[in-house]
């Protein structure tokens, strides 16, 4: 047995490195290409909503439908009651609208929109503080959704349940071109650090940044 081993050692000497390289390449392919594909499930929105079309017909931009309620809380995606004003009957030729009227309006069912920017239950996010307090634009965090004519596919992490837009398109979690490419805690921290943001004073004893309870609940 020992002798056998020694023999092999000599004959397969050159292959050792080859196998090593094969191992590296295989795992790189799995890790960088196959794994991300497997990790996310893809879902289409129940209705392919055309933001651009609607933007043209409202006066108040995004806030026409995604508004702050009286108590300052954010209304999120519109409820059926807000759409029904125009869409109680089919308006045009669009099959998506037809679907909306037939399946939701006439059955009085709320549309189960998939929220790209849905934060987990542990997060408190004040739209009022950002829109009114910091006078920020919707685009800064949400990008140019308002100019889209079609809703992109909703991708969901199969393990964590997060929308892919939270962690970011980039699987390494490092590359970020636009401010809206990801919405992790670190992305919030870009502003919520004492140095770059005056209103975010050193409130946390531990991190000398904004306190935990500012964004956590």
């Amino acid at each position: 047995m020992d002798a056998l081993d020694d023999e092999k050692k000599n004959t397969s000497k050159g292959f050792g490195i080859l196998f090593f390289i094969i191992g590296v390449i295989m795992s790189l392919i799995i890790g960088w290409i196959i794994f991300p594909k497997l990790l996310y499930s893809k879902k289409n929105q129940p209705i392919d909503f055309n933001h651009k079309l609607h933007m043209a017909s409202v006066d108040n931009g995004c806030a026409s439908c995604h508004f702050l309620r009286k108590d300052g809380s954010f209304s999120g995606s519109p409820k059926l009651s807000e759409c029904i004003g125009c869409h109680s009957q089919v308006q045009g030729q669009d099959p998506e609208e037809l679907k909306f009227v037939e399946q939701y309006v006439s059955k009085n069912r709320e549309v189960p929109w998939l929220i790209y920017s849905k934060q987990p239950a542990c997060v408190f996010f004040s739209h009022a503080a950002h829109i009114k307090g910091a006078k920020m634009d919707c685009v800064t965090c949400h990008g140019y959704i308002g100019e889209s004519t079609s809703l992109k596919v909703y991708e969901q992490n199969r393990i964590s349940g997060y929308s892919r837009d939270i962690w970011g398109k980039d699987i390494s979690g490092i590359l970020k071109k636009n401010s809206w490419d990801s919405m992790k805690m670190d992305d919030c921290a870009v502003c919520h650090e004492s140095k770059s943001n005056k209103s975010a004073r050193e409130k946390s004893v531990q991190t000398q940044k904004e306190g935990c309870f500012v964004c956590h609940k």
């Binding site: 081993d5 004959t11 050792g16 795992s27």
Partner: protein, 735 residues
């Protein structure tokens, strides 16, 4: 080419290094930890628009205003209604837990149920509303045809309110006198006031403005009266420098918060009250101008007091030291606005008439009646002004019959209803049998003493129809369960709660639409009446309960619908002289009616004291709901571990007594009374008199602890017929 083990090793090494250079392990590690933050089996409540609905809590007679926070269509939290005259934004723990009663899929009854198993077996089949109603109506019609309409009885939780009056009206129009309601301490107090002041009224206590409270066991912060209001007023009373003396065998929370806790032997309250009266008269500390001008029968009464209730005698009977009797009596009489209050914890059980009257005489002695800081006569609710029910011949025959409980007969002249007598009457087959029993929002199998007898009686009644939202002790013994909406899903009027000083009506409103296939009991009564036809139907000229409620409340409807309550805030008791409607027009310490009552100074607990050397008393705790509503999980969670340990109830015992039995904290014992036996543990407590042991009321549902009614019997007050039992003889042995 042969692949060797080494090559595999190389491949593995390469793969390991390669994998470390990809996001795979790191992202997985991160995602898995995020997974632990969002476990699917941990519920994450949906967010949405927040709205508030104002309503009234009807979980106890207190009638507090509540504000229910909703998120979209979910009720999320109950809070006290700010500005409500009773609770001023405060709320008790039962009120706070209401949503656990609303959203209890397990205990709530989701659809009409018909019994298919044996009684108590919890075997039911769901039936349709049509079937349910026609089954009841068929039974009712048959009984009427046989001329047995009086053998129908109805138990409802209270005599006030539109629903309960609809019930009463239904029974009357149908032809039964047997409208039964449970009694409470306020009934004894009202009766005492009726006898002494001649007014049929509610008693009101202006606690906040009084200066000295002499409480004979009233659980001011155990849930007595309208609990939150009393809590708040006690605080203000305390802050104003008021002095509270709590007289009871066991140190309750009220006792703990009192300026003095005065332990006395159970059943000796009347004697002690009269002992105080003795001192006040002897020391000439009574309000002479009031006595001289506004009272009658004082001299004769005084003589008995002076002769009999000397401090030494009273001390012997009550166990209270003579000097304490004297000093407390003097402090009481010297105080500017002293009130004497009798009670029994939450006051769900009445006191004897002699007790109530003895205590009320103390109030008479100090003349603290119908003025600030005193006892007020508050008018009974008067907003239900329906035309008399139409009575046909059969009904006429029926309602002429003697009530099954004999209330209002010569023997029980002052009683309007004696629900406590029902089990005995049924078991002994006295009067006549009950063929059909309605129960609405009550749980007599749980709340009446001597549970075994109650169950026996209920098993004898051939048909029980229960209007309730919950599967409880009584509903499992019912033949037909007609699920009512819960209080958060329905309209209901709530009239002046016990001991409040101003007439008030509050309104419970549907906070959310009914979540199960339930119907308002009021609607059912109306539809049953319609179905029975004839004069019965004509007696109910309303489309629905809501219609009836609206028409009844008339001009107050809108105010109640919007604001949640109506209060006569300017109400003040008129000058005392106008308030006494006795024959003499005065406050009567003694009159013919009073003299005719059988005396009952000392209440002896049931049982032979050679066999049962101890006395078991039942106590109330604000942390437990002891009425028909079962304590929801939050309440059970809030109960101390010295009261409930796992599923065992813990009995409180004085360390000295425990020593006699060589018992240590937590020891298991067997507790026996003439009525039953139970296994419990002991808790050594210095706040209880030696030779007395105590168990809480309100446990025993869902196998949590023990229903003390299993061990308790009844003591009938000879004067009123009320069950005035608050203790029973007992013995214990190490288990």
């Amino acid at each position: 080419m042969k692949v060797s083990r080494r090559d595999f090793l190389s491949l593995g090494a390469g793969a390991t290094i390669g994998t470390a250079l990809t996001p795979l392990p790191w992202k997985l590690m991160d995602d898995v930890s995020i997974w632990t933050q969002n476990w699917a089996w941990t519920p994450f409540p949906e967010d949405g628009e927040v709205t508030y609905v104002t309503s009234t809590c009807t979980l106890c007679p207190g009638g507090c205003g509540i504000m229910v926070r909703k998120v979209n269509n979910r009720a999320v939290k109950i809070e006290g209604l700010k500005g409500h005259p009773l609770n001023q934004g405060g709320i008790c723990l039962l009120g706070l837990s209401g949503l656990q009663l609303l959203y209890d899929n397990k205990k709530r009854i989701k659809t009409p149920l018909k019994r298919i198993g044996k009684k108590g077996e919890e075997k039911f089949e769901p039936i349709s509303w049509e079937q349910a109603i026609s089954e009841v109506c068929d039974k009712l019609s048959n009984l009427r045809l046989k001329g047995e309409s009086h053998t129908v009885a109805g138990i409802v939780s209270s005599k006030f309110g539109v629903l309960n009056n609809l019930f009463k009206r239904f029974l009357t129009a149908y032809g039964s006198p047997n409208f039964l309601t449970p009694q409470s301490g306020s009934d004894s107090y009202s009766t005492a006031m009726f006898l002494m002041q001649g007014v049929d009224c509610n008693a009101g206590f202006d606690i906040e403005n009084s200066s000295f409270i002499l409480s004979f066991g009233a659980g001011l912060i155990e849930g007595w009266g309208s609990p939150v209001r009393i809590f708040r007023e006690r605080t203000n009373f305390n802050q104003n420098g008021g002095k509270l003396i709590q007289i009871e065998p066991r140190l309750s929370n009220t006792g703990a918060k009192a300026d003095k806790w005065l332990p006395l032997k159970p059943g000796a309250e009347t004697v002690l009250a009269l002992g105080f009266a003795h001192v006040i008269i002897k020391e000439s500390l009574y309000k002479k101008d009031f006595i001289n001008t506004y009272t009658q029968g004082f001299d004769k009464w005084k003589q008995t007091i002076i002769d009999t209730y000397t401090p030494s005698y009273v001390s012997k009977i009550t166990g209270v030291k003579e000097e304490e009797i004297i000093s407390i009596a003097m402090d009481f009489a010297k105080s500017s606005f002293p009130i004497a209050i009798c009670g029994n914890g939450k006051d769900r059980t009445p006191e004897s008439l002699s007790h109530s009257m003895a205590v009320h005489s103390l109030n008479g002695l100090v003349g603290n009646i119908n003025r600030k800081g005193g006892i007020w006569t508050v008018p009974l609710p008067d907003y239900i002004n329906w035309q008399e029910a139409l009575i046909d011949d059969i009904a006429q025959n029926g309602i002429k019959k003697e009530r099954i409980d004999s209330a209002g007969t010569k023997q029980y002249i002052y009683a309007k209803s004696l629900l406590n007598r029902l089990p005995e009457v049924v078991n002994l087959g006295k009067n006549y049998p009950i063929n059909l029993l309605f129960i609405s929002e009550d749980n007599p199998i749980y709340t009446l003493p001597n549970t075994n007898d109650v169950i026996k009686a209920f098993e004898k009644i051939p048909f029980i129809v229960n209007f309730t939202s919950y599967l409880d002790e009584t509903s499992v013994h019912s033949d037909l369960i007609l699920p009512n909406h819960t209080y958060l899903e329905r309209y209901e009027d709530v009239s002046t709660p016990p001991y409040f000083i101003k007439p008030i009506i509050s309104m419970a409103k549907p906070v959310i639409s009914p979540i199960f296939n339930t119907k308002h009991t009021g609607d059912l009564i109306i539809s049953m009446a319609k179905k029975l036809g004839g004069k019965i139907s004509e007696s109910f000229p309303w489309d629905s309960y809501n219609d009836c409620l609206k028409k009844t409340l008339n001009d107050k409807w809108q105010m109640l619908e919007e604001g949640g309550f109506w209060v006569n805030s300017t109400f003040n008791p008129s000058k005392a002289e106008n308030q006494f409607k006795t024959a003499s027009g005065k406050f009567e310490f003694l009159n013919a009616a009073i003299s005719a009552l059988s005396p009952g100074d000392i209440i002896k607990p049931e049982g032979d004291n050679s066999v049962f050397p101890l006395i078991l008393i039942a106590y109330d705790s604000i942390r437990l709901s002891s009425g028909f509503i079962e304590s929801p999980p939050f309440l059970i969670k809030a109960v101390e571990s010295t009261i409930l340990k796992q599923n065992d109830v813990v009995v409180e015992i004085n360390p000295q007594t425990a020593k006699n039995y060589s018992l240590k904290e937590g020891d298991r014992i067997i507790l026996t009374t003439p009525k039953g036996e139970a296994k419990t543990k002991v808790h050594l407590f210095d706040g209880i008199m030696p030779d007395i042991i105590a168990l809480p009321k309100g446990l025993g549902h869902s196998n949590k602890g023990l229903n003390i009614n299993n061990l308790m019997g009844q003591i009938e007050d000879p004067s009123s017929g009320f069950n005035i039992c608050s203790g029973i003889r007992a013995k214990i042995a190490k288990a």
